[in-house]
Amino acid sequence: MPKTIFLFFLLCLSFATFSQDYTNGGTFTGNIESTFQYLNNDSIIAANQPAQKGLINSYMNVFYTNKNFKAGMRIESYLPRIQGYPNRFDGTGIGMRYIGYTNKLVDITLGSFYEQFGAGLSLRAYEDRALGYDNLLDGIRLIVNPYSGVRLKGVYGYQRLSFQQGRIIHGEGIVRGVDAEINFKEAFDSLLSDDWDFGLGASFVSKFQADNDNELILPQNVGAYGGRFNARYKKINLNGEYILKEQDPSNDNSKIYNFGHAAIFNLSYSKKGFGVLLSGKSVDNMSYRSDRTKDLQDVFINFLPALNKTHTYNLVATLYPYATQPLGEVAYQAEVLYSFKKGTLVGGKYGTTVNFNFSTTYRPTQRTSGINPLDSTGVTYRTRPFEMSDSLYWRDININVTKKFNKKLSFIFSYFNINVNNDVAKISNDASGIIKAHIGVVEGSYKINKKHAIRAELQGLFVERKNGQTNDKGDWATILVEYTVSPHWSFGFMNQYNYGHPNPNLRVHYPIITFGYVKEATRFMIYYGRQRAGLFCVGGVCRFVPASNGLTLSFTQSF
């Protein structure tokens, strides 16, 4: 059994390191996280007590390196999984494992690995444990550095789809890919002055999945390929990537035979005290999975970043988030950050920072004239990169001002104006059309003395009425107070209040208390209270978490 062999190998290593001189014994790093929940019934928020009452998620990573050798593994355990975690996670077992060898020329990994080509539009294998997202590749990866500034990568493997009865379940299709990149500055040292930096890259990815369709002839091998560049002149940066995807009829795109594309560019300029960023993105028919029948966040080969700011205040972050529509969108973003100098009128004694951000997303133009969607080509529309219609998917205008008044007291004032098209980017079952929300947040921090500090947030969220009716769940308010004693203790209280709900019986409070203890790389947290149903997002990837009421304990340790 290959697994046993691997374990045996790792075991031998452990012994080997014990018997060696410690300075040559290699290094172990890793981490542990365990989250336990005890949940109650709470009918008003539709929270149910699971039959087991107690739920627990745990994992531990161990990474070992010794000179040129590396090995690592992760053991995961879901007994059963905590609420809102993907529903096909159960049991205890090895969720990731690899061995590898690295020197100056090559870096080879066998087993599980994470990888990203360029901006990830063609391939990105990554994990986010908090989300339960893990699309690692299981197979082989070879990285070659033949020449300074040149890097070649090759990957071959099956993706992790889920984790059942303590075993990795793989996606059905195999994924292959190569990537090459050159950094001209590193390759030709004398060619460019320090003012310049220039690089090019290209990638080719292909997946194979057998055609098991009775009616259609499905392409079994589907490629995605393209190039990228990055350029810097002094303080100006420009980078972009374009990926074309071959015909890939899938459940996502209702089995059309269109090609797909994804394009992204970023232009930025920044100097001391000022930064500006402009980004644009065009996506069409770009859902690329190693199994054409899957949905949600399963076995995505590529990554389509959402072009909007990742918010942190709970109402704006979890009620109205946005994720890329892989079937098609055109998006733009602008971000400006300016710090008023200390000693000026606005800057005051400690300086003042203003941050403005604008992002918007539209449906692409899809031309259907002259196209018979039922003909044998299977092509249902035509489109061009960055050609957009006037159908809005998302718009976010936000500004925040950070101001420190004296050594002890500082404030952050924020305003967000969010429009999200709930018919397309569905985030609520209670809303229709475009949800228009205004959110205001005041956050104050006061440092009582060297170790004690208190922080408070007041948040209000106001949803515009639609045809005289309350849209979605109406207005919300949040209050949060947090008291910390450095370097170990924290105490917090938060209440979210849905005071504007159209049904007076559902104007619910969601109070929660938190307690935390941190010692160096060890952290214990206790939460008790109500948790609102909502989308939990990390970096534009979201999962739905149902409402709950109860106790959560979490423990993390790094080593």
Binding site: L7, L11, S14, F18, G25, T27, F28, T29, G30, N31, F63, T65, Y114, G120, R124, Y126, E127, A130, N183, K185, E186, D197, G199, N230, R232, N237, S270, K271, K272, F274, G275, V276, L277, F303, L307, K309, T310, T312, E335, V336, L337, Y338, S339, T353, K451, A453, T484, V485, S486, S490, G516, V518, E520, A521, R523, G539, G540, T556, S558, F559
Partner: protein, 167 residues
């Protein structure tokens, strides 16, 4: 089951081993990252002369920004007194990675900033969540680390840095 016995053994072995490693100090894992100017840097041989603070952060992480902005205000004093270099490793992925230079320069930070868009270095360092700060002595050993940030934590970090100078 036999497999479970294996698991527990490895678990114990690695815990024991990591404790031994703690006593004998741990070196930094080797990962290639790029800075904001596009320059490649290997994390195991960063090439700074004095001690180094590695702080994992993200543009979407408020406590991270609070920590780094607080240190920013005293950074020149810290540098002068202890020769410390702070390396702020951003774990922003492609969604927010391009906003890192906007933020860093807009805030006029003078830290070294590295980008870790696919979390390779974060994973190798065993970081569960950000902020997470490590102190590395001049020989490249990890001597102190702290998860989370509460106001005042920076003073504890500075004490640890000063201890290194006394050695």
């Amino acid at each position: 089951m036999k497999t479970i016995a294996f698991f527990s053994f490895i678990f114990v072995a690695s815990i024991l081993n990591s404790q031994e490693a703690d006593l004998n100090l741990k070196k930094l894992p080797s990962v290639d990252l790029r800075d904001l100017k596009g320059k490649k840097m290997n994390t195991s041989t960063m090439g700074f002369t004095g001690p180094v603070v590695i702080s994992f952060w993200a543009t979407w992480c408020s406590p991270c920004k609070k920590e780094l902005n607080t240190i920013h205000e005293v950074y020149s004093d810290w540098k002068e007194e202890t020769g410390i270099t702070l390396v702020a490793v951003s774990i922003d992925d492609e969604k927010t990675k391009n906003a890192v230079s906007t933020y860093v320069n807009g805030k006029a930070w003078e830290f070294e900033v590295l980008l870790d868009p696919n979390g390779d270095f974060k994973r190798a360092m065993g970081v569960n969540n950000v902020p997470h700060t490590f102190l590395i002595d001049k020989d490249g050993n990890i001597v102190y680390s702290h998860n989370n940030y509460a106001p005042g934590d920076e003073e504890k970090l500075f004490e640890e840095i000063k201890k290194l100078g006394a050695k």
